[in-house]
Symmetry: C2
DNA sequence: GTCTATAATTTGATAGAC
DNA sequence: GTCTATCAAATTATAGAC
């Protein structure tokens, strides 16, 4: 129970190192030796705590996937108004991505390399995003004439695209626009409001 | 999946096979044996035509990268009006991505794993996207009061995000929205007009 | 040019001392 | 729990026959 807080345990060091190596190199590109070096421990110790590379990867991947997805539901299923949901989503989601910039590309890439496994293991439970309520709400707002006529599906895709893509294309954006780390962070900070404003401007009457 | 034609030369068969394997598994995950099998030839022949795995990868990667990027410039640097450029960009770009759905994730992923090499080798020449003209055009339209006040930078990021992201997140979107291949294609076809309309609705006065 | 066989290297995983 | 040493399998690359 009484752990010295400054020193993390071997298991914690391994998990932190594995997260760093897997998210930057991917499952196929990561080396157990890289993770051991990064954790400052021996390679054999990885197998002592986590049976295999695949087991270790799954721990990191599922933690990442759950960070990326389920929070969407909390917003979609709340009782806020449409505009409130849009503002809340952009703010919270871009905040989350800013804290884990490598996460979206890592998860999307691994998912696309193994869609079947992804579906079964991650969303076999209760984590499936249920955008239906959000889609229905948009349709209702359109029909009641509160917003312009727009496809709920495309509005949803637009919202998510504008929040996540900048992190997927981070190195590309930084290079083409000549942004250093701090400038990139600032631009993402601005987007929390800019994206919501952009969307609302497009759909409000 | 495309069958590799019997009458094409060995080199062509290898390139087609390498494209398929590399874009689906990435550099680290691809196996020379996979490529040889896919091409219907022997593994040694890969090394006869292309010295090493890395050389073969570079051919595929640079071809893919050039398909993804330089066409942007043609639109950005044309003399069309802002609205025309937006409509042209969404239409042409989504068409291009629909023809190569695996390309964006492949390129973005490999770029992020090696940003330095990417910068030097791909854009050391004349292929660097020059969005400056487009950004200036937006600023001019804002100042002259033709469109709403908006950050040119964020408008550019929004435009590209909405065009490319759906292909990066293709498996995720298909699963959460329950779309088969044909339905996904149809949704992307709709987006050619929907995205342009969405943007123009947001910025027009 | 294309193949079979094999070398050389990398890498995930284990054995066993402490 | 942690280490060193080592195995076994996978994988890139080459040699040499045809």
């Amino acid at each position: 129970m009484d752990k010295i807080k400054n020193e993390s345990s071997a298991e914690e060091k391994i998990l932190a190192a594995a997260k760093k190596v897997f998210t930057s190199k991917g499952m196929a590109g990561a080396r157990m030796q890289d993770i051991a070096d990064e954790a400052g421990i021996n390679k054999a110790l990885l197998h002592y705590y986590f049976r295999s590379k695949e087991k270790l990867f799954e721990v990191i991947f599922f933690e990442a996937a759950q960070k990326l997805f389920p929070r969407i539901n909390l917003i979609f299923e709340s009782n806020s108004t449409l505009f409130e949901k849009i503002e809340k989503f952009t703010d919270e989601y871009i905040t989350l991505m800013s804290e884990n910039p490598y996460l979206p590309l890592f998860v999307l890439n691994e998912v696309s390399k193994n869609p079947e496994v992804f579906m079964k293991k991650i969303w076999g439970k209760q984590n499936i995003p249920q955008p239906q309520k959000f889609l229905t709400q948009i349709e209702r707002e359109v029909k009641s004439g509160n917003i312009k006529k727009i496809s709920p599906l495309h509005l949803l895709i637009n919202l998510i695209s504008m929040c996540i893509f900048p992190f997927v294309a981070k190195p590309m954006i930084q290079f083409t626009l000549g942004l250093d780390e701090m400038q990139f962070r600032n631009v993402m900070e601005q987007r929390k409001k800019e994206v919501a404003k952009f969307i609302i401007d497009s759909i409000k009457k």
